[in-house]
Amino acid sequence: MEKQDWLIVYLSLPSAGETNLIDPIRIMKGLFLFKMEFKEKLKDFYDYSPYLYGPCSFEIYKDLIGLQMKGIVDSYSQPLYRWSYYRLTEKGQTWVKSLIKDAPTEFLERLKTIKIKVTSLSFLELLREIYKKYPEYAQNSVINFGGHL
């Protein structure tokens, strides 16, 4: 599977809440945790660098733009809400079925668990947990937990 396929599969998986919309931070962090757990086995996955909000892959943004242009993903934002939320379109939901069929079970099950976890934590809880586990990715963060992780 290509890295972009994993992004599409991730978007299709259930969240902790009822909504199928997910903010970009939780996309970024979920796929980061997935990569860190399977980095020996995942070939050619997204590159992450320590950014202003911790681990960030600019390739994921690029892919989200590309998938929106292909009609597989759409984004949803409201005035006064600061996040743009992403979800699969109907075309995306059809598309993902064959990807899920091809996905190795071990990876897929772990990705499901990661997404539930990532979407159940508050924004700061999520960052705190990732910064604690991977401090090398927190070095450029604008959110400093004051050494009390």
């Binding site: 931070i25 202003l52 989200l64 996040w83």
Partner: protein
Amino acid sequence: MTLIIALACKDGAILASDGQATTFSMGGPVRRTISKIKYLGENKLWAASGSVGMIQKVEAVFNSLPKEILNAPLSELQLRQAILQNAHTLRAQELLRHRTLHGQGRDIEAGMADLIIVEYQNGARIWHINPDCADEFLEEFGYGTSGSGDIFAHTLIKNYKVKNLSVEQGCLIAYRVLRDAIDIGAFGLGEPINIWIIDNNGVRQKSQPEMLALRDSYASWIEAEEETFKSLFLAESKREDK
């Protein structure tokens, strides 16, 4: 209407702006989307607020200057004189045109351009040229700003020690100031936000994925601020309850 922000960071310089201009039509002012940030020789960028026509004339003058002058650092007197003399000539011509048509006492309505030139070459420099061609270097303050929305920038940027920030952090400050100014609805300011940087790797514009990442960094920052405020407020309330 415009908001331009220049930041002198520890490892580079930033020039950022909103992306909306107002031009005139017989029916009234018309909004247009434009790129306000432009190259000016090696390791330099410029932008201007003011009337579109005057800014276009300034650009034409810059484009006509010899490359060896444009590529010189801002510390070179020859470059600064060439720019100032040309800006002065344009301003004088415009005032003459305006006075001929409208008489004395209405100079404020004449076309004008307020320029900001940013350079990074062994350190960041911010050169501000007022519409009347008085000029000043602003890097010691860490930032410069121009345009009708500049009060937002002064209010917000003064809280940050820009000179100690990295370019990446500076980009976030620039994004926040522009985002807030646009969201508050400052008249005539609008999307898209454009951010350019100059550092040891040269001059480049932030790409679309990088702008999305900045948008999310901004949202993260606000989210963290709200959480902090909530915890401070709740801690205070709990103390009062006791």
